[in-house]
C-alpha cells in the first residue's frame, strides 16, 4: 500500500504525476504558511490582561500582494496545464497509428471488441444487440466486422503502442477508468467517445467503473492485460481460433 500515487503504467502517468507534485508543492507552501501562521497567531496574540488589540482596518499593499501572487500562480498553472490536456483529450490528440479497440459499457459488464487481423473495427448498431449472442451489436454483414473478436471483461493491449478506445454505453452513464494508466472517460449513451493511451509496463491491471451506474456499479470490473507485441499477437490468434470454434457447442 502506497501513500503516494499508483504505479505509472502509461505515457500519461509521468506528466500527470509531475503536475500533482507541482501543485502539491504550491499548495503545500500555502498550507504551511496559513496553518503555522494560525498556530503562531493563536499563541502570540491570545488575550492577556492589560493587552489591547492593534486597531487597524487593513493594509492595501498587503491586499495587492496577496491577491497578485495567487492570481499569477493560478494563471501560470492553468496555461501550463492546458498543453497536457490538449495532448490527452484534444480533438486531434489521437495518434494516427493508434490500435483501435471498442469498449461497450452496459449494466454491469464491459465488452471489448478487438479488430482482428484486418486491424479495423466493424460497424456496430444498437438495434443488433442480443444478450450472449451479440452483446455489442456488431454488424456481421460489415466486412470489417467478420474477424472482430468480442470478449467480456478483459482488456488486452500491446505495450508501447498507442491504443484508441471507442467508448459506448448501452444504458446509463458509466466511466472507463484504469488508475495506473491515469485514464478516465465517461461512457455516455448516445455518444461514441474516443479516448487514447499508450501502456508502458507489461502486467495486469484493472478497469473500475467510475460513474455510479446502478446497484451493481461496484462489481463492474474488467481485468487489463498489457502484453509485449509478440505475446499480444499470439493471444489474438488464439482468440480468433476460439471464436471460429465456438459456433458449435
Amino acid at each position: 500500500m502506497t501513500w503516494w500515487l499508483p504505479p505509472q503504467a502509461s505515457t500519461f502517468a509521468a506528466p500527470i504525476d509531475w503536475m500533482f507534485t507541482a501543485i502539491l508543492i504550491i499548495t503545500g507552501i500555502t498550507f504551511v504558511l496559513v496553518e503555522v501562521g494560525l498556530v503562531y497567531f493563536v499563541i502570540a496574540y491570545r488575550n492577556r490582561p492589560g493587552r489591547k488589540a492593534f486597531y487597524t482596518h487593513g493594509n492595501t499593499r498587503a491586499e495587492v500582494i496577496w491577491t497578485a501572487i495567487p492570481a499569477v500562480t493560478m494563471v501560470i498553472l492553468g496555461l501550463s496545464s492546458n498543453g497536457l490536456w490538449v495532448k490527452i483529450k484534444g480533438r486531434n490528440s489521437v495518434p494516427a497509428n493508434a490500435y483501435p479497440i471498442g469498449v461497450h459499457a452496459k449494466q454491469f459488464e464491459w465488452w471489448f471488441t478487438y479488430p482482428g487481423a484486418d486491424g479495423k473495427l466493424g460497424r456496430v448498431s444498437p438495434e443488433l444487440i442480443q444478450e450472449t449472442v451479440n452483446p455489442t451489436g456488431l454488424d456481421r454483414s460489415d466486412p470489417a466486422a467478420q474477424d472482430d473478436i468480442v470478449i467480456r471483461n478483459q482488456l488486452h493491449v500491446p505495450v508501447g503502442r498507442p491504443v484508441v478506445v471507442t467508448l459506448t454505453s448501452e444504458d446509463v452513464i458509466h466511466s472507463f477508468y484504469v488508475p495506473q494508466f491515469r485514464v478516465r472517460q465517461d461512457a455516455v449513451p448516445g455518444m461514441s467517445i474516443r479516448v487514447w493511451f499508450e501502456a508502458t509496463v507489461p502486467g495486469t491491471y484493472e478497469v473500475g467503473c467510475s460513474q455510479l451506474c446502478g446497484m451493481s456499479h461496484y462489481k463492474m470490473r474488467a481485468r487489463v492485460f498489457v502484453h509485449t507485441q509478440a505475446e499480444y499477437d499470439a493471444w489474438l490468434q488464439q482468440e480468433a481460433a476460439k471464436a471460429k470454434g465456438a459456433s458449435t457447442s
Partner: protein
C-alpha cells in the same frame, strides 16, 4: 445622548396578543421562522449523520452484518448485511439531506432569516407572510424527502447529483416512487429557496435603519445578501431540471433519452449550472458569519473589509462560469475543459484573499477563545485545506485521474464540514442567546470543538490518500478490486473515526437541548459585540425595535482608540458622530 437612554428609547416591549399558533407555528416573525428552520435543519443533520454511519459501516466492513442491521427490512439489509441498492440509497440520501436540508437550511434558512432584520435594524423582513411560506414549503419538501426512504423500492438511487438516464429510468435503477418523490421534494425546496431569496434581497435593499449604509453592513449580511442573489438565479434552474426529470419519470418525455432525440448530458449541464453556484451558497454565509466571529474573537476590526466584500462578490460572480469543472471527463467538448480550467483556477484567488484577511484580523489581536471563536478558527484552518485541494482538481489533466475518487469526497467534506459546519458550530452558540435568552455551555462547547476537530481530521484526511490511490466513489465493496484491497485497513480506520465523530456530536445536541431549559440566562450582549442585535433583550421581542436604531459606524470597531471598552456598538453615538443625513431607504 448616552447609550443607556438610547437603548431604552429604542426598545419598548409592545403588547403582543397573538395566539399560540400564530406566535409559534404559523408565525410571520422572522426570528421564529429562523428557529423553525433551525429545528428542521438540525433534525436533517442528524438524519444525514445516521445515513453516513451506515455508509461507513459498509465501506469499512463490507459484507459484515451491521449492528442494528437486523432491524432493517429485508429489502434494505438481508440478515443485517446491507444490500447494494440500499447502499446507493444511503449515499444518495446522505448527500441530499446534508446539502439541501442541513447545510443550506442552517446557513440560509436559519441565519438569513434570523440575522438580516436584526443586524439591519428592521422590524422584520420585507414580506413576512412570504417568509412564512418559505419555511412551510421547505417543511413539506423535508417530509417528502424523508418519506421517500420508506416507500416500496426505497429512496432515489442515482446519487444526490441524480445523473440521467439512471435517475429517469426505473427499470435501470430499480427505484420508482422514491425517485419521483426526490424530484417533487426538490421542486418544493426550490420554491422555499426562491421565496426566501426574494425576502432577503428586498429587506437588505429597503429595510436598513438610518445610517446603515451598504459599507456599514456586517459581512454576515453581505454574504447572505449575495447568497440570496445566487439562490434566486440558480435554484430555479434546479427546480426546472427536477420538473423535466419528473416528466421523464412519469410522463415518458425524452429530454434525456438519446434513443429518442434527447441528451444524457443535458441533465449534467443543468444540474451543475445550478450546482456550482449552489456550493457557493453553501459557503458564503459561513464565511460571512466567520468574519463576524473572528473580528469579535480577535477584538479587532476585520482586516480589509472592502476587500472582503469584493471577494464575496468575486466568488459569487466567478461561481457562474465554472460549472464545467464537474464535467471534465463527461464527454463534453474538450475545449470546454480548457476554458473551465482557467475560470476554476481563478476562483481560488478571492477565497485566498479571504483567508489572508481573516489571518490579518487575528494578527496583533487580543484573542478570546470562546466556543464561537474556536470554531471560526477551525473554519479558517480547515477551509484552507479544502480550498487548496480544489486546485488539484481544477487542473484538468489531473482531474482526469482524481475525478469521482475519494479525493473529491475529501475535498467536499473539508469545505462543507471543515468549512460550513464548523462555522455553524460557531454561529449556533453565538446567536443562541438572542434566539432563546440563554447561553449554551461554553465548557462543553470547547470539549465538542476539540473532539470534533480531532475525529473530523482523522476521518476525512485519509480520504485524500485513498483518493490518490484511485478509490472510486459510491462503491459498495472496495475489496472487489485488487488495487484497493491494500487500502481496506485505511477504510476501517476512516470508519471508526467517523463513528467517534458522530458520537461526539451527542455533546453538541445535549448542550443545545439542555441549555434551552437549564442554560444560564443570557445578558443583553454576552460577547461584547457591536451589531444591532445585541442592543435588544435576549431573546429579542416580536417586532424587534419600536423605533429603528440609528447607526453611526461599521460593525467591527473593536479596540477603537478613544473608547475605554474594547468594543463600540454601531448605534452608540459619540460626541464626534453626526446624525445620518437621510435614512438610507424607507420601508419599515
Amino acid at each position: 445622548m448616552s447609550t443607556v437612554a438610547a437603548t431604552a428609547h429604542a426598545v419598548h416591549a409592545h403588547h403582543d396578543d397573538r395566539s399560540f399558533v400564530r406566535k409559534y407555528v404559523f408565525s410571520t416573525d422572522h426570528k421564529i421562522i429562523g428557529i423553525q428552520f433551525l429545528f428542521l435543519s438540525l433534525f436533517s443533520l442528524l438524519v444525514g449523520g445516521v445515513l453516513a454511519m451506515q455508509i461507513r459501516w459498509q465501506e469499512g466492513f463490507p459484507g459484515q452484518p451491521m449492528p442494528g442491521g437486523k432491524l432493517l427490512p429485508e429489502t434494505m439489509a438481508s440478515g443485517g448485511v446491507l444490500l447494494p441498492e440500499y447502499y446507493i440509497e444511503l449515499v444518495t440520501m446522505h448527500g441530499t439531506f446534508m446539502v439541501f436540508f442541513a447545510i443550506m437550511l442552517l446557513l440560509v434558512g436559519v441565519y438569513a432569516n434570523f440575522l438580516i432584520p436584526l443586524k439591519l435594524g428592521a422590524h422584520d423582513m420585507a414580506f413576512p407572510r412570504i417568509n412564512m411560506a418559505s419555511f412551510w414549503s421547505a417543511f413539506v419538501a423535508g417530509i417528502l424527502m424523508f418519506a421517500s426512504m420508506f416507500v416500496p423500492e426505497g429512496a432515489a438511487r442515482a446519487g444526490w447529483t441524480m445523473y440521467t438516464p439512471l435517475s429517469a429510468r426505473h427499470d435501470l435503477s430499480g427505484s420508482s416512487l422514491g425517485q419521483e418523490l426526490w424530484s417533487i421534494s426538490i421542486i418544493f425546496f426550490g420554491l422555499s429557496s426562491v421565496l426566501g431569496s426574494l425576502n432577503y434581497i428586498s429587506t437588505v435593499i429597503n429595510n436598513r435603519a438610518p445610517g446603515m449604509t451598504w459599507f456599514r453592513m456586517p459581512l454576515s449580511v453581505w454574504a447572505l445578501f449575495i447568497t440570496a442573489i445566487l439562490g434566486l438565479l440558480a435554484v430555479p434552474v434546479l427546480a426546472g431540471a427536477a420538473i423535466m426529470l419528473l416528466f421523464e419519470q412519469i410522463l415518458g418525455t425524452h429530454f434525456f433519452d438519446p434513443g429518442a432525440g434527447g441528451q444524457a448530458l443535458l441533465w449534467q449541464h443543468l444540474f451543475w449550472f445550478f450546482g456550482h453556484p449552489e456550493v457557493y451558497i453553501l459557503i458564503l454565509p459561513a464565511m460571512g458569519m466567520v468574519s463576524d466571529l473572528v473580528a469579535n474573537g480577535s477584538r479587532k476590526p476585520i482586516f480589509g473589509y472592502h476587500s472582503m466584500v469584493f471577494a464575496i462578490c468575486g466568488i459569487a460572480f466567478l461561481g457562474w462560469i465554472v460549472w464545467g469543472h464537474h464535467m471534465f471527463v463527461s464527454g463534453m467538448n474538450p475545449t470546454l475543459g480548457s476554458t473551465f480550467m482557467v475560470s476554476t483556477l481563478l476562483i481560488a484567488v478571492p477565497s485566498a484573499i479571504k483567508v489572508f484577511n481573516w489571518m490579518g484580523t487575528m494578527w496583533r489581536g487580543n484573542i478570546q477563545f470562546h466556543t464561537p471563536m474556536l470554531n471560526a478558527i477551525g473554519f479558517v484552518a480547515m477551509f484552507t485545506i479544502g480550498g487548496l485541494s480544489g486546485i488539484f482538481m481544477a487542473a484538468t489533466p489531473l482531474d482526469m485521474f482524481i475525478h469521482d475518487t475519494y479525493f473529491i469526497v475529501a475535498h467536499l467534506h473539508y469545505v462543507l464540514f471543515g468549512g460550513s459546519l464548523f462555522a455553524i458550530f460557531g454561529a449556533i452558540p453565538y446567536w443562541y442567546p438572542k434566539m432563546f435568552g440563554r447561553l449554551m455551555s461554553d465548557r462543553w462547547g470547547k470539549v465538542h470543538f476539540y473532539l470534533t476537530f480531532l475525529f473530523y481530521n482523522l476521518t476525512f484526511f485519509p480520504m485524500h490518500i485513498t483518493g490518490m490511490a484511485g478509490h472510486m466513489r459510491r462503491i459498495y465493496d472496495p475489496t472487489v478490486y485488487d488495487f484497493l484491497k491494500p487500502y481496506q485497513p485505511m477504510n476501517e480506520f476512516i470508519s471508526i473515526s467517523a463513528f467517534l465523530l458522530f458520537a461526539t456530536q451527542i455533546i453538541f445536541f445535549v448542550n443545545f437541548w439542555w441549555s434551552l431549559f437549564k442554560g444560564e440566562k443570557a445578558p443583553l450582549n454576552p460577547w461584547h459585540d457591536n451589531g444591532l442585535e445585541w442592543t435588544l433583550p435576549s431573546p429579542a421581542p416580536h417586532g424587534n425595535w419600536e423605533t429603528p436604531p440609528t447607526v453611526y459606524r461599521g460593525p467591527y470597531e473593536f479596540s477603537a482608540p478613544g473608547v475605554s471598552e474594547d468594543y463600540l456598538p454601531q448605534n452608540r453615538k459619540l460626541p464626534t458622530d453626526r446624525e445620518p443625513a437621510l435614512a438610507p431607504a424607507h420601508g419599515d
